[in-house]
């Protein structure tokens, strides 16, 4: 009964408030009448009776308020009221609300998007069991520019045999193999994995099963496992996939399993997995036995063994390997172990860090801006607050009002912010998918929670700022204060000044960083590649199986035929296309000097090319000759060096006619016949490396890339058709991948630099907007306070110039302080960006100068415009302003 009555009353109070209030008013009015009546009976006059009754009753409003306070649901009611007033306030001051909500929403959006990005890069790729214990074991790179080199088969077996050190050891190697289906050929990212690889990473087959140990033997059957995305895209999730056969790399393999969608290998995205990691198409068996490196090795140490213990053990194993097989190619390279997580994010870390810091700057700037705007509003509402004090609102009630206003503001901004985050993530996906691992960037619940936390932090920040700066003066003083006295009243508290200085500092940092990165990217973009990529189309050509005609012979015929066609200006073939990260290297030594033993020789990158290659790529010939048809298999083996290699080996002397010995397991002596210009083949940023070229006729390679320089105006479609037609005419059985323009391949190398530069430039631009609007609103408020004073001075004959100048000067003083502080910080901190900068100093004066002038100009405008606006007010109007 008790509870039911309470619930009923609660409902009444909530939904029938007006009736309840009316009843209360009636009741009190009746009470008043009864008192008056009883006073009349006692003999007072009517007016006296009523007055006495009123005195006895006390304050009617106070009574009503006290009744309301004991009502059930009172708290809810006041909350509803507060929100209602907050909403009305925000709607009334539309410009204020729009700018604060907009600024905050942008900040929330960018921060949340960044959070999701960082999370997907740091966390997602490693959803393996106990991922922090996983190590990657690699070899020291043979030359600068690589982070690590691959392990050879003998070393892998040595490591695997140490059951005392490792619980599990597994390896992966990758190949580009051709898959033939329904007469169409496709170049696939294929991986070969050792026994236990999937189990080590905790993968379970979605369909079918994983590889068995029997399949990993030399004579094992040909089986394959598909990745989920490949099964989905190419086989349309065919439920009968298990048992079907596909032709991969010339062999017919049975599909035995499909991997789950969430599974990803740390070394890249592979479509098809094969067993028997020791049979790869690009290495001869002798090379594999003699220590050629081609494996990526993962290991899980035994529980209780730390990484440094592993490293010591590996060093000891290096020694034993060297003694056991001193002739092996990798006898003198040492093994290293790193936690897997480190290797995965190593490339990305500086870029991600830079962008994250930029985002934090923008968020802080946005919050400061809003805080400043709130303080401005607060000062404007001094009178309103004083009146509310007088009407009985306690200090707590007023602070509660601030909380509801800020709460509403931040929440509306939050909703928009989440929308922005979704948009930003889509943009990042568009721009950054080239180099960001874990390409699934989604706005998930963790992101939303992060946004909520940000919102909470901001609410707390704003409320404390408001509460601390709320006017505490005596009510009477506040009410009496008028515009006339306001010039004596300091318009900008030190706190607000500090906020502006902080904004300018942060904004300058962002602007300098953006200027540096954009300049760096511009230089990267204009770097001399050493060849002319515009107008070149490439396609991979590889044999379907062991056919009678060699790849080389076919390519020669294909090139000859293509050169007669109108769409083709010239054509060539290459093994090891520049900038495609298909890198191969070999050991070499000049023949006319004492040669170091195998394993200690210098290493160079190499390419196998058709005679027309240098022509098609427009690589200049420095001396000697290019390859000709005379360089056939039976004739003297020849080689062409790049400039850098020639200079390295022979200094300024003529290298033509001298000999080099190339190779590790199989060594051949080559005569140098020419020197060509350098080419940026690995990376746009790394310095140029040593390179050698061998003629196609003398080196058979399993698959090569066809290069076509198209005649002016030829489109990709025409090239596609021409290649297909020519292949048919030659009755070739080779598989050719879809041609693409060379520029697309190069663009991938640009991807990271472009992403960071664009992101930073965007954020710097945003921050400029934020700072400008922040300074503008603060200055606007300050000037408005002094309109009356300005009007008087104008009426008294002061020149406009004399009034504007001190106002702008005081504002610029603040800006100047911010710029100086920002400059000092930047000089110290910009060097952390060096990883991302190419051919530009972290303290490049031009970039610094540009950023400072831009910011100063923007700040000046933000100061000047409000002052000018105040000038337009006619003096009389100013005097009337109250």
């Amino acid at each position: 009964m008790h509870l039911y009555s309470r619930i009923f009353s609660f409902g009444q109070n909530l939904f029938h408030r007006r009736e309840v209030e009316r009843e209360l008013s009636d009741e009190i009015a009746c009470h008043l009448e009864l008192l008056t009546a009883s006073n009349l009976r006692e003999g007072l006059t009517e007016s006296e009776a009523r007055r006495a009754a009123l005195l006895e009753l006390g304050g009617i409003e106070q009574i009503k308020e006290q009744v309301r306070e004991v009502r059930i649901g009172h708290q809810l009611e006041t909350l509803r009221q507060d929100l209602h007033y907050a909403g009305r306030f925000l709607l009334k001051h539309r410009f204020f609300s729009a700018s604060t909500v907009g600024t905050l929403a942008l900040g929330f959006g960018i921060s949340t998007a960044m959070f999701c990005l960082v999370k997907s890069v740091w966390l997602r790729p490693l959803n393996y069991p106990d991922p922090d214990r996983l190590l990657q074991i690699s070899a020291e790179p043979p030359m600068a520019g690589l982070h690590e080199a691959d392990i050879s088969l003998p070393r892998f077996e040595q490591i695997r045999s140490r059951k005392d050190l490792f619980v599990e050891v597994a390896a992966l190697t990758s190949e580009q193999l051709t898959l033939i289906r329904a007469g169409k050929a496709e170049q696939l990212n294929t991986a070969r994995v050792s026994d236990g690889f999937f189990q080590m990473l905790g993968a379970q087959a979605l369909r079918g099963r994983l590889f068995q140990s029997t399949e990993q033997r030399v004579d094992g059957p040909n089986v394959a496992i598909l990745s989920y995305s490949y099964w989905q895209n190419r086989f349309a999730r065919d439920p009968n996939i298990i048992g079907q056969r596909i032709i991969v790399g010339g062999e017919s393999s049975t599909i035995v399993g499909v991997l789950p969608p969430a599974f990803a290998v740390p070394f890249g995205d592979f479509n098809v997995y094969l067993p028997r990691v020791f049979t790869v198409g690009f290495l001869a068996p002798q090379q594999i036995d003699r220590g050629a490196g081609f494996l990526k090795v993962l290991a899980r140490p035994q529980p209780g063994i730390a990484v440094h213990q592993i490293r010591t053990a590996l060093a000891e194993m290096d020694g034993r390997y060297r003694n056991r097989a001193p002739e092996n190619m990798d006898a003198h390279s040492n093994c290293r172990a790193f936690p897997l997580r480190e290797t995965v994010v190593r490339n990305i870390r500086p870029a991600l860090a830079a962008v994250t810091l930029a985002v934090i700057c923008v968020m802080v700037l946005a919050s400061i801006n809003v805080a400043n705007m709130l303080l401005g509003q607060l000062a404007r509402r001094e009178k309103e607050i004083a009146v509310r004090h007088a009407l009985g609102a306690g200090r707590r009630r007023i602070v509660r009002q601030f909380i509801s206003e800020n709460f509403l503001l931040v929440n509306v901004a939050l909703i928009f912010g989440i929308g922005f985050a979704w948009i930003f993530l889509a943009m990042v996906h568009q721009f950054g998918s080239g180099f960001l691992p874990g390409s699934e960037l989604r706005l998930d619940t963790a992101g939303v929670c992060f946004a909520l936390v940000l919102a909470l932090v901001d609410i707390v920040f704003f409320v404390s700022v408001s509460a601390f700066n709320a006017p505490r003066d005596h009510i009477g003083e506040t009410l009496r204060r008028s515009a006339a006295v306001s010039s004596d009243h300091p318009t900008l508290t030190p706190f607000r000044r500090a906020l502006i200085i902080t904004q300018v500092t942060l904004s300058l940092l962002l602007a300098i960083a953006a200027a540096l990165l954009v300049a760096s990217w511009y230089r990267v973009h204009n770097v001399d590649l050493g060849f002319e990529p515009v107008g070149i189309f490439v396609a991979d050509v590889s044999p379907v199986s062991d056919r009678t005609e060699s790849n080389t012979a076919l390519l020669q015929r294909l090139i000859e035929r293509l050169q007669t066609k109108p769409e083709v200006a010239s054509a060539a073939a290459v093994y090891g296309l520049p900038l495609s990260h298909d890198d191969t290297f070999l050991q070499y030594a000049p023949a006319d000097r004492p040669m170091p033993i195998i394993g200690h020789r210098a290493v160079t990158w190499y390419r196998v090319v058709s005679p027309q290659y240098f022509n098609v790529m427009r690589i200049p010939l420095r001396s000697g000759r290019a390859f000709t048809d005379a360089d056939k298999l039976r004739n003297q083996p020849v080689v062409i060096l790049s400039e850098t290699t020639a200079r390295l080996l022979f200094g300024n002397t003529n290298p033509i006619g001298r000999k080099v010995v190339c190779g590790g397991t199989i060594q051949t002596t080559h005569e140098i016949v020419g020197v060509v210009g350098d080419v940026r083949s690995f990376d746009l940023i790394q310095p140029v490396r040593e390179e050698m070229y061998f003629p196609m006729a003398q080196c058979e390679e399993p698959s090569m890339t066809l290069i076509i320089r198209a005649t002016a105006g030829t489109k990709l479609g025409a090239i596609k058709k021409r290649i297909r037609a020519s292949l048919q005419e030659l009755a070739a059985t080779q598989a050719v991948t879809t041609p693409q323009p060379m520029s697309r391949i190069i663009a991938r190398s640009f991807a990271r630099g472009r992403f960071v530069a664009v992101a930073l430039a965007l954020f710097a631009g945003l921050s400029l907007l934020v700072v400008m609007s922040g300074i503008y609103s603060v200055m606007d408020y300050a000037v408005t306070q002094r309109t009356r004073e300005i009007g008087i001075r104008l009426a008294l004959g002061a020149r406009r110039r004399d009034i504007i100048r001190p106002i702008v000067a005081s504002g610029m003083k603040l800006v100047g302080t911010g710029l100086i502080v920002g400059l000092l910080v930047a000089l110290g901190c910009m060097r952390f960006l060096s990883d991302l900068l190419y051919q530009i100093n972290a303290t490049d004066p031009l970039a610094f100068g540009f950023a400072i002038s831009l910011l100063a100009a923007v700040a000046f405008l933000a100061n000047y415009l409000p002052a000018r606006r105040a000038m337009r007010v006619a003096p009389l109007a100013a005097l009337q302003y109250e």
Binding site: S9, L34, R71
Partner: protein, 113 residues
């Protein structure tokens, strides 16, 4: 604005509910009537101001111990009357017992040496 803190005023805040319930035990009354009755039955010690009375009445009504209805007052005007509900009568009994127990205990405590 705080009320003058007489000892009666302090005590009243704690036991106002009890007095209101008792005042309505005999007959239904309107707000002024309750105030007068309390003054009467306490021999003039407690003069309950409307600022305390109305909140108490409404609180007791929401708890379900009083029921209200609109009737005609002595000067032929509409007025809001309150009466005890069944639960209210029980509550009055319980609180009376509690009060007697407490006052006995305090009384004996003050008598002790």
């Amino acid at each position: 604005m705080s009320k003058p803190k007489t000892p009666e005023a302090e005590l009243l805040q704690g036991t106002l509910d009890l007095l209101v319930l008792k005042a309505l035990a005999a007959a239904a009354l309107h707000g002024l009537g309750v105030s007068r009755r309390i003054e009467l039955i306490t021999n003039g010690t407690f003069a309950v101001k409307p600022g305390s009375l109305f909140p108490a009445l409404h609180r007791l009504e929401e708890a379900g111990w009083l029921k209200s209805f609109w009737g005609t007052s002595e000067n032929n005007r509409r007025a809001k009357y309150y009466r005890l509900s069944k639960a209210g009568r029980r509550q009055l009994e319980n609180e009376t017992q509690d009060w007697k127990r407490i006052s006995l205990a305090i009384g004996s405590a003050l008598e002790a040496t």
